[in-house]
């Protein structure tokens, strides 16, 4: 929506603020999308066994598209079984978290809102840690799904609880939802802390790793479960773009412009819970993405959700793929938890953008 900007220029005051510079979506999306694809290929090639991008592409070419010559078994295993699922899920998870964060910041009209605010991450942590600490050591197939299932259940439970208590469908507004969310979040954090305190050494390591986020356990099965949920959630959210634009004006004003506020709120919260719950269930709590990415995107291409949501999805995915690559390469063969890298990369970038921008208000 830059068509009218050319008419600006007559007001004498604050001439420097006359126009807001924005990157058009038609340019930003293809560029960031291309960078994401490159990052994914490089990330798949990176690790204890280093593979060139052409090798990675060769394996994918043969294994997925059935073209070209077969690559050596080791390369095929590394690409297809070890790295591709985690990298792809990492990208999806980044998209899910960033899109959720963008939607919640608009819903609450609060720049500090992130998926944590509706309790999903906190509840999921509690669910996962409870499963790790309280259940006997898991064996066999149960390892793959018990903790994710407990995490997902915990996340949805927490959101449902917050929602039932705050009843945002009534006319109580978003402020109450925010406060109830904070209270329930603290309660879940306390339970998680208590369980962590009570954990034995082996469990503790798993707990810590899970809480800081890890893509190490991803396989094709989890990818197959998570992908459709996240894709559907992101598409639903993008379809809500215009409604989210209106919500940024305030509940009353949105209603004056024809928005059914309480219904929209329910859909946004439900979709966010699904997106974040799925991400957390398989990858643990990866912080900072949901908070920072939408801000970065808004500073680049403006606050309209038609642009913010798809761009957030791509940039969120990119940030996680890069963080995951770093987490596997700084201290090989050990993996540093990915959440540390999202924070380390996100914080300075975010700070730089905030300090440089003329308008800090969002």
């Amino acid at each position: 929506m830059t068509a009218a900007e050319d008419t600006a220029g007559s007001a004498p005051r604050r001439a420097a603020l006359e126009r807001t510079r924005r990157l058009p979506l038609a340019i930003g999306l293809p560029i960031s999308g291309a960078v994401l694809v490159v990052a994914i290929v490089v990330s798949i090639g990176t690790g204890p066994i280093q593979l060139s991008p052409s090798t990675v592409l060769g394996v994918i070419w043969h294994e997925i598209l059935g073209q070209g010559a077969a690559r050596p078994a080791l390369e095929t295993t590394v690409v297809m079984d070890l790295r591709m699922p985690r990298v792809l899920f990492g990208a999806l998870s980044g998209a899910a978290l960033a899109v959720s964060g963008a939607a919640l910041q608009s819903l609450f009209r609060n720049p500090l809102a992130d998926p944590g605010i509706i309790g999903v991450s906190g509840g999921a942590s509690t669910g996962a840690v409870a499963a790790i600490v309280l259940l006997p050591p898991l064996t066999g197939a149960a390892v793959a799904w018990v903790v994710p299932a407990a995490a997902f259940a915990g996340g949805i439970l927490a959101t449902t609880l917050i929602y039932a208590l705050a009843r945002p469908g009534m006319d109580s507004g978003t402020a109450r939802l925010l406060l109830v969310g904070i209270a329930i979040g603290s309660a879940f954090a306390a339970i998680t802390g208590f369980l962590t305190f009570a954990a034995d050494d082996d469990d503790l390591q798993t707990v810590v790793f899970w809480q800081m986020g890890s893509l190490g356990d991803l396989d094709w099965m989890k990818l197959a479960i998570g992908t459709p949920v996240i894709l559907v959630g992101v598409v639903i959210m993008i379809l809500l773009s215009r409604r989210l634009d209106l919500l940024t004006l305030g509940d009353r004003q949105a209603h004056h412009l024809g928005l059914d506020v309480s219904t929209t709120r329910k859909i946004v919260i439900g979709t966010t819970a699904l997106l974040t719950g799925t991400s957390v269930a398989f990858a643990g709590t990866i912080g900072f993405i949901g908070l920072v990415v939408p801000h970065i995107v808004r500073l680049i291409c403006g606050p309209a959700h038609r642009g913010v949501l798809p761009m957030s999805a791509v940039i969120g995915a990119l940030l996680i793929v890069v963080a995951d690559t770093l987490s596997r390469t700084v201290a090989p063969p050990a993996e540093v938890p990915i959440g540390l890298f999202t924070a380390i990369m996100g914080a300075p970038f975010f700070l730089m953008l905030v300090l440089r921008s003329r308008t800090v208000r969002l």
Binding site: L249, G250, H255, L257, G258, P303
Partner: protein
Amino acid sequence: MSAQTGARVGAAAADGLTAGTEAAGAPAPGTTGAEPWIRVERAGFAIGGAVLLQDVEFSASGGELVALVGPNGAGKSTLLSLLSGDQRPTSGRVLLDGRPTADWPAKALARRRSVMTQHHSQAFSFTVHEAAAMGRAPHPVGPDDDALIERCLREADVDALAGRDVTTLSGGELARTVFARVLAQDAQVVLLDEPTAALDLHHQEVLMARARELAQEGRCVLVVLHDLTLAARCSDRIAMFDGGRLVALGPPEDVLTPDRIREVYRHEVAVLEHPTSGRPLVVPL
């Protein structure tokens, strides 16, 4: 009474309260003589023990501009929020086209009435153009939208600011942007809550002139105003509120008497006659 059955279809709530005002004629809402567009019946609103509005009887239709005046806390904004459908009256009824405003589906209501609230926060850096274009939200996208939005930006005198980030605007500039959005919404019932509060003299005149035009185009315009002289100059009728009650309703010269203003505002005033228009000029003493 032959039109009675026809009228019931569109306005089941019409009940007989205003029966006797010309039963003949088509029951099309809005045509004078038929069901008024806006009908407030003994409406009251109380919250947490405080009675903000009581026993208000009021109706308005297309083609007129009604100014709602009264001291702070008199109930003007409360009535406006009931008319907007934001809240349900705690007693009585507030009807738009015969249907309680709070029962209207949000989108249908937004096509019928637009609202300019007293406070408008802009937390996100939309451009002025984008913010005004949101007025089109309740309508299906049409080929003339761009031209319409451009026109509304010009009418609110924010076309020169179209590319500006709304979070950098002054209070008056933001108010004009919101007015542009209200114009873009293109509703037949226009509710403005102190639209001129933040505006300079020139823009106050521009906005009220446009509001008058809206009424002349056949729309129903309700404006909360504090400036009694401005209200007298622009309105067809003035509704004066005091302590949650509607204390006077009628043409400006009937409502704005020195005695009534002294009683309601607890302040001495002189009411002069405008040398050319003959409208009342209210001068505080």
